[in-house]
């Protein structure tokens, strides 16, 4: 036998090489198809529904999806059954943990068991104080239905808030409708709100007026070149634009006006000098009485 390959051997070799290339191309093609489809699906699945809230300490959504191995250990260690694991077909990425505040809110455990349970750090282990958690931001989204906005004293969202008087405060405003009452407006402060959702759960309305939203939906962002004049003034100790000129009121002698809230100030000893009474209302009432008398 010679060492030269025969014709048949060579063609067999060529055929097998061709078959190998063809097989590889087909396998590679199939894998590419799958990869493209999956890649597209993967891109779309980054968007989390606004009503789904990640557990405390969760990384930013894009990082989270690269870090969470979908094991559900955080769900198991949640003592209040707050956390759910998304199943295939849910709008939340399959296998990842989330909660719906209106169903069961986060109870803000001091020891944060869900974060401790996370084996990968998709829930950031550097979160040690639950008050530092930022799961989202509560937004009083429906002023038209919120009872406090109508002048009622519901206050439930304020009372239930675990960070009461910091995350939610009641801001008193004049009730123009009645003219003699106050509105107590529940106001959320982003530097303290953890996004636990207890306010959303507690809202007494048929559907809640206050909702926890993802930060990127709930917060605007100031232009980075913006400077608030009054803060800059405080910092500098004086106006940065031009020295303030004291406003001169053209008031009768013995009267002055305070801009900081006092309003019109009338010196007592000068009252007899003035053509008007001590109380400006006297003058007004006198005029209206005169008008009514004339009509009669």
């Amino acid at each position: 036998m010679s060492t030269q390959p025969t014709q048949a051997q060579r063609s067999a070799q060529l055929n097998s090489r061709r078959k190998f290339l063809l097989d590889s191309a087909r396998a590679g093609g199939a894998a590419t198809l799958i990869a493209l489809g999956l890649g597209l699906y993967s891109k779309n699945s980054v968007s989390l529904p606004a009503s789904a809230i990640r557990p405390p300490g969760a990384l930013d959504e894009e990082d989270f999806l690269g870090a969470c191995v979908r094991c559900g250990l955080c769900v198991r260690d949640c003592p209040f059954d707050t956390l759910k694991l998304a199943s295939f077909g849910d709008r939340v990425t399959t296998g990842t943990p989330y909660f719906t505040a209106r169903d069961i809110p986060c109870e803000m455990c001091d020891d944060i068991p869900c974060v401790k349970a996370c084996p990968t750090g998709a829930l950031d282990h550097s979160l040690e104080n639950i008050d530092d958690a930022r799961m989202g931001l509560a937004v009083l989204i429906d002023e038209e239905n919120c009872l406090n906005f109508q002048g009622l004293r519901c206050d439930v969202c304020y009372r239930i808030c675990p960070v009461i008087d910091k995350a939610i405060t009641l801001e008193m405003e004049h009730n123009v409708r009645s003219g003699k009452h106050a509105f107590f407006i529940p106001t959320v402060h982003s530097d303290h709100c953890t996004g636990c959702g207890k306010c959303e759960r507690a809202c007494v309305l048929e559907d809640t007026a206050i909702r926890v939203m993802p930060f990127e939906l709930a917060k605007g962002e100031l232009g980075h070149h913006y400077r608030w004049g009054w803060k800059e003034k405080n910092k500098a100790g004086e106006s940065l634009v031009a020295p303030d000129v004291e406003h001169q009121y053209n008031l009768p002698k013995g009267q002055s006006y305070d801009l900081q809230g006092e309003g019109l100030i009338i010196d007592d000893d000068s009252s007899d000098v003035s053509p008007f009474g001590n109380n400006p209302l006297d003058t007004l009432n006198k005029n209206s009485l005169n008008t009514r008398g004339a009509e009669k």
Binding site: S16, A31, S87
Partner: protein
């Protein structure tokens, strides 16, 4: 070869007749027991409040102390740019060491819940004599494996977990299925109608990954009694990775060498399922170690010639 062409019986019929039902199915029964036990241990918690293990196959915690993490999903996470906490790394190392030792694809045949689905599909396929259909390359899985590792680089997320039937079925059974049955059913139909063992032996990147882990695993199936083989082909018929048997059973010669290698099934794609042991009436196969894999001493010249005549790359024989 003539028996293969004329046969109409199912593989395993002879073994059942000769060894009895129990012996002829013992490894299959052991595997089902293993698969169901592992699943049950996970289900004890949510169903009965007995928390021996929490989590799922992707990552779990045994008795609140020992972490276990799927090294494949952790690798994808690394490719997505995340540096995991030590618990996940420890868990992955434990799992890695175990499978490196016992054979990576032991995961496929002894742990993975999808195996029961695809085995059922294969059983029905044989029962209803569904044959042929599309031919997939067994290497497709490596391409898909590569794709699942490249995707996290591009998307920054663990993309494969969006559709992975393996974790989806296991997680689904423990935490709630949702529509995951769709994907499981798709895998079932694929194996039943599209191609023989299409999912586990051709496409699944999880199996491909674990296969690569077990390239040098210690525990292997050996065909030490290969002289007794009567070429009934039953082992070949039941094997989910048919290409792995011949080199061990018939010996093979490494490229540029005269050494004849056997009788250990060295291919990393062998799932150590032991089905070949079950169906063999001649007790050719048994579980053993990857040692003394050189037939030169006890091989007759006839066999050497036979092996030389057949080009190594034909009929799926392994070329190393």
């Amino acid at each position: 070869m003539s028996r293969l062409q004329t046969r109409s019986r199912h593989p395993g019929t002879d073994a059942r007749a000769e060894k009895g039902w129990l012996i002829a199915n013992k490894w299959l029964i052991a595997r089902r027991f293993s698969q169901l036990s592992i699943l049950s241990v996970f289900l004890l918690g949510p169903w009965f409040g007995i928390w021996l293990v929490t989590g799922n196959l992707n990552s779990s915690l045994i008795l609140k102390t020992v972490p276990l993490t799927d090294p494949y999903v952790l690798l994808q996470s690394l490719f997505a740019g995340h540096s995991p906490e030590t618990a996940a790394i420890t868990g992955a190392v434990i799992v890695l060491l175990f499978y490196v030792l016992v054979g990576g694809r032991v995961y496929c045949s002894w742990v993975c819940p999808v195996n029961m689905i695809t085995d059922t599909a294969q059983w029905l396929r044989e029962h209803f004599k569904i044959t042929g259909a599309s031919s997939l390359s067994r290497k497709t899985r490596y391409w898909i494996l590569a794709a699942t590792l490249i995707l996290p680089l591009v998307t920054g997320g663990i993309s494969w977990e969006l559709v992975n039937p393996v974790s989806m079925m296991h997680r689904g059974l423990i935490f709630g299925m949702g529509l995951a049955w769709f994907i499981i059913f798709a895998v079932f139909l694929l194996d039943l109608l599209v191609s023989r063992r299409a999912w586990c032996s051709h496409l699944c990147p999880v199996g491909a990954f674990y296969g690569l882990l077990g390239t040098h695993s210690l525990i292997r199936i050996r065909a030490d009694a290969r002289e007794q083989c009567d070429d009934c082909m039953d082992c070949f018929m039941v094997c989910p990775e048919q290409q792995v048997i011949r080199p061990a059973l018939k010996g093979y010669i490494k490229k540029n060498s005269t050494e004849v290698i056997g009788p250990v099934i060295t291919s990393s794609n062998c799932t150590n399922c032991g089905r070949c042991i079950d169906v063999c009436t001649k007790d050719v196969f048994h579980f053993g170690l990857r040692l003394n894999n050189n037939l030169n001493n006890n091989l007759d010249n006839n066999f050497k010639n036979l092996n030389n005549k057949q080009p190594n790359h034909s009929s799926g024989a392994e070329v190393l």
